[in-house]
Symmetry: C2
Subunit: 364 residues, 2 copies
């Protein structure tokens, strides 16, 4: 088992990565202080893994809620449902909420843990690659609003994260690729060696080779843990993790949640960020092409939705959480392995990127 | 103007108490860092004071939402509405949410500030006595769930609190009394001198005599600020502030929000807590009577709802946030001026108190 520590003083916690963790009761129970547990999971994941987790938690009182699958259920109505179940089953402040599922389950379960009775303990057991390499680490929790993604949320760190790589065997290929988008992102923004490594291990990763997948999960968690430990609540450097996300969120909002997977929207966002970084003289056309090619190799979309205009993009980007009074704030690429936050994006150059969707779709 | 400081290190803030603060633009603007403000208020308060506040905030971009009056609107649906307006008016992370109203407005506006884009700045301008002496201070924010009061919330401290005592002139007498319930509570749990003082200044307070009302607001804020500064997130001593509230919340939930005012339910809760403290040998029958008499003098209810059984009380008290795995946790009175948290309430004695409702209603 590999262990990455997220150092946040008294809120520090361990991210445990390995095979068979889901059945490792003693390990998981070690981070539960009360005698009641409430598992938030999805219908699909429940069928595959809930019984095993319940067995591992033997000795504790375990209640569970199965949410319908899909980003469209990551909303306040679901929060209300979860709280209703918690109250009906008499869970008090000493309870522990466990997220067993992907990013949607983790985000809404985490927000429930952040707000139920003003905050209870929380454990993440992510079951998609995307949540394993990104959303389960760092304490961001949220639900969506009709008018914008993740607009209602809180920072609430888990007590521990358990990443069982075996569960990836049941993950649909499209979701595996979506997770790899965040791994590419981590390489681009912080680690050129990871980016280089990804370029030559595409097949191993798509085939779920165990050492390869363990390596990228661990490296992603290390990169994210390092940044979050410096800036937990995104006052500064943590914003770098949003590389590709301002474009990506605009796509998700415009297309309706769930039609584009989050990782797919981020992948296209990375291509757009690379294009804009190239047009503003930060990276070479060659590097922009390298990024686009890697995204494509992992079977991820490189072109924005054909029915989405530059104006629609710009409007949605203006209400993004990263927007300031001064204008759109974006993360751009200085070089592969180094990103930078830019506040004074020239709208005219941004528009060129947004209008160049068609060109990005051409074969390289 | 009187100023009480709540000392929470870098989250410290001032509670300003005086006449005419609502029109004091420079004072209020001093604690707003961006150029956009979003006022959450109620229909009634908006008619009386919103225009004046907007004038005081001249120079800033001010949007406002008027919520229907009543505790029944303190829910997730209202949060969703507020966030919708914030997004429609392009408020970003640099915005400041201002609560202009009573406890309901403060709680829901505060929860919106705690969760909008994972947290924005917040200012409290409480317009009821109850919110001035209690809920505007200390950073507790929440909305209700169908199955329990304040079950979804967060700790989110304001940047400042502005208490304009002039606004009490438009407050209905019933709400004035409800506010005085929390003042009595502060006397009972922390300050016997305040309790003594209240006994001989009933008329001045009910007639809104300015020095008298300023005195009890300031003293209440000092008592609360002192306790919150020691224990911001209610791991220990802050729970003392819940004196009367476990009983009170049960009444509110059973009777439907809004039928009993929060302060009225707390007032009856104080009488029940005094009764139980007497029955468990903590205070004398004389002190229990003194408490009941003071509650009565301020025109507050001393007897629980006649249609509420002891069993209904006990069931609702078990899901209270203060409940632990071990059982019902209650705040009891050691002597007037000193309270204590008790975990091992004997259910048989509690039942005697809960069944003695009728007796409590008899004239003293």
């Amino acid at each position: 088992m590999e262990v990455v520590t997220l150092d946040l003083g008294k809120n520090s916690y361990s991210i445990n990565i390995g095979s068979g963790l889901l059945d490792n009761g003693p390990l998981i129970r070690n981070t539960i202080s009360g005698n009641k547990v409430f598992v938030v999971t999805s219908e699909t994941v429940a069928c595959l893994y809930l019984e095993r987790l319940e067995q591992a938690l033997g000795g504790l009182e375990v209640d569970a809620i199965r949410l319908p699958d899909g980003e469209q259920f990551k909303n306040l109505e679901t929060l209300e449902r979860i709280v209703g179940e918690l109250l009906a089953n008499k869970h008090n402040r000493g309870t522990t909420i466990v997220a067993l599922g992907g990013g949607v389950v983790g985000d809404v379960a985490g927000f429930a843990a952040a707000t139920y009775q003003r905050g209870v303990d929380f454990i993440q057991i992510p079951t998609t690659l995307l949540s394993q390499v990104d959303s389960s680490v760092g304490g961001k929790t949220a639900v969506n609003h009709r008018l914008g993604k993740n607009m209602i949320g809180a920072f609430h760190q888990p007590n521990a994260v358990y990443i069982d790589i075996d569960v990836l065997k049941t993950l649909p290929p499209r979701e595996l690729s979506a997770g790899l988008a965040e791994v590419i992102k981590h390489g681009i923004l912080a680690d050129v060696e990871l980016f280089d490594w990804l370029e030559i291990h595409v097949d191993e990763l798509l085939n779920l080779d165990e050492p390869a997948i363990t390596h990228v999960i661990k490296r992603s968690c290390e990169i994210k843990a390092n940044i979050v430990s410096i800036d937990e609540t995104e006052r500064g450097v943590r914003a770098l993790l949003n590389l590709g996300h301002t474009f990506g969120h605009a796509i998700e909002t415009n297309q309706g949640y769930g039609n584009w997977l989050h990782g797919e929207a981020v992948a296209t966002g990375l291509v757009l960020a690379a294009d804009l970084s190239m047009r503003t003289g930060r990276i070479s056309p060659d590097d922009a092409r390298r990024i686009r090619r890697l995204v494509e190799k992992f079977k991820l979309p490189v072109c924005p939705p054909p029915d989405m205009s530059a104006t629609q993009f710009a409007e949605l980007m203006k209400v993004d959480k990263k927007a300031t009074d001064a204008g759109i704030r974006l993360v751009l690429i200085e070089s592969i392995g180094r990103a930078v936050i830019v506040d004074d994006i020239e709208m005219s150059i941004l528009e060129v990127t947004l209008e160049s969707g068609d060109r990005l779709c051409e074969p390289i």
